[in-house]
């Protein structure tokens, strides 16, 4: 399918977004503004209760549509204001995958599950078949199309959840801690899929606690705390602010912590700081060599 093009406009444009749940006393989100460019890998980190999932649900149009509450500001995804659309109308623009793989499958077979969104979108049979073939290969479930979803492993269920969203070919894919409840093998296979999507140019917004992985793959990272943006920056700029992460009770990768210490001590120049493991090891070797010579 031809991707829609939006000249001069970012694919995600959030302006002064504030939101309060119907039962809430405080703002769940307060004056949140950011843009995501097409093809960008945008990471979101923050402690529990920071508003990460709330933000994801706003982007998907589930808030305020399904939840009510007080909302102000604006969100545009692929040129469309989300607040005036139903979640169904947004399905081919923005897809979301949640943490709990157990509760996301609907179909009686993997094939049916992948088709579910497409049927609601009234996609033709032919097109449906093409997309199911393509997506099931991408998520590594093409051998399991006739399997019942409940008979899949946790990792496979999560792949199916990603596949069901991808079949709708959204402009933006939101992943809300998709690997939090998975074992290491399933975790890395999900990250492999996400990297492949990134290479294909899919715009990805990923809420994730695995900061080492974000340091490697993200173009930019948004740090959310108590409903407000604490920082938006590329990983190397973000993870340089070790104390900010400590303040919001989040981790930074070990190498970011190490390199920050070394830069602060003047042992390594500021422009050699990195939060990526391979690069950090290379820098350390270079400087240790220099010292030993």
């Amino acid at each position: 399918m031809e991707k829609r093009k939006f000249m001069d406009e970012p694919i995600v444009n959030v302006k002064d977004l504030s939101y309060q749940y119907p039962s809430g006393k405080d703002w769940a989100l307060h004056n949140v503004s950011f843009r995501v460019e097409e093809g960008e890998f945008f990471g979101i980190v923050g402690p529990t209760g920071a508003g990460k999932t709330t933000l994801a649900m706003c982007l998907r149009g589930l808030i305020p549509q399904n939840f009510g509450g007080k909302i102000s500001g604006s969100i545009k995804i692929a040129g469309v204001g989300t607040m005036s659309k139903t979640p169904g109308e947004l399905a081919d623009r923005v897809g979301i995958v949640f943490q709990n793989a157990e509760t996301q499958a609907i179909g009686l077979t993997v094939r049916e599950d992948l088709a579910f969104g497409l049927e609601n979108m009234k996609v033709t049979r032919e097109e449906m078949q093409k997309r199911i073939d393509r997506v099931s290969k991408l998520i590594g479930l093409s051998e399991f199309l006739e399997r019942e979803p409940w008979a899949l492993s946790g990792g496979q269920k999560q792949k199916l959840a990603i596949g069901g969203v991808l079949a709708m070919e959204p402009d933006v894919l939101i992943l809300d801690e998709p690997t939090a409840e998975l074992d290491p093998v399933s975790k890395s296979s999900i990250f492999d899929i996400v990297r492949r999507l990134q290479d294909e140019g899919v715009t990805i917004i990923m809420i994730e606690h695995e900061v080492e992985t974000l340091a490697d793959v993200a173009d930019r990272i948004l740090v959310l705390n108590e409903g407000e943006i604490a920082m938006i920056a590329p990983p190397d700029e973000a993870f340089r602010e070790v104390s900010l992460f400590k303040d919001v009770r989040e981790r930074v990768p070990f190498v970011a912590d190490l390199m920050s210490t070394l830069v602060d001590q003047g042992a390594v120049p500021e422009n050699r700081f990195t939060s990526r493991e391979e690069e950090a090891i290379a820098v350390l070797k270079e400087y240790l060599e220099g010292e030993n010579a």
């Binding site: 606690h209 070990f254 210490t261 390594v268 350390l284």
Partner: protein, 275 residues
Amino acid sequence: MPEPLIQIRDVNYAYTKEEDVLHDISMDIYPGEFVAFVGQNGAGKTTCAKLMNGILKPRTGEVVVDGQLTEEVAASVIARNVGYSYQNPDHQIWAMKVEDEIKFGPNNLSFSEAEVKEQVEEALELANLTDKRDEYTFALGWGERQKLAVASILAMRPKIIIVDEPTTGLDKDGSLRIMNLLQRLNKKGLTVVIITHDIDIVAAYANRVVVFAGGHIVRDDMVEEVMVDLDALEKADLRPPQHIRVALALKEYGVEVEMSPELLRENISNLLQKA
């Protein structure tokens, strides 16, 4: 050397007739240890743990808990000594209110009323749940239900507690809280066994690591040794934590460094500042 609390000798175990899920497992667990079981799903970790608290009995070989063969005593007797906290706290929480949940275990183990009261108070306090004693269990967050599951076991005053995946589904803060609780209990003398996939948790808290693969124990050693045994870890689909990966890369390069994050940082910064 004190007597082992749990002795597992040449144990084979099978859920079905066709295939053993544990093959010739032997290990001793001593009082005061903090042990981590790691391995892929299906490697035999949870089966081994269930043999240790007598829910399962070995097909061949023997398991001795506190001097008693598990085959010869009821699981309820072993439960006094070996507490087992399930992966999903909702599989073991049944009471409406927090305090009732914690009371349930000791009430069933024929402690006196005064003992039950004391043990419940102690467990509430240890798990930081004293001010939540009258709350509905279903209204607690996942992390608190996890703590409640542990507290309800502590109230039975076991000698050893086995916790299956204590940090799954918790964020950094929640993970720290439950792990610090287990560490505090361990320092007070409680023997702790955790089953986990989280290598950072293993490196930070365990003294000893048992690596399971395909129903075998492929490595059983001090945590420092296991964290640098890349072959054994790979069999469990694990990589060492990032600080150890960095230390190993530097070692390979000829720079001798320590393996703990703090000492490693100090090492490198000293090396770089010497000049």
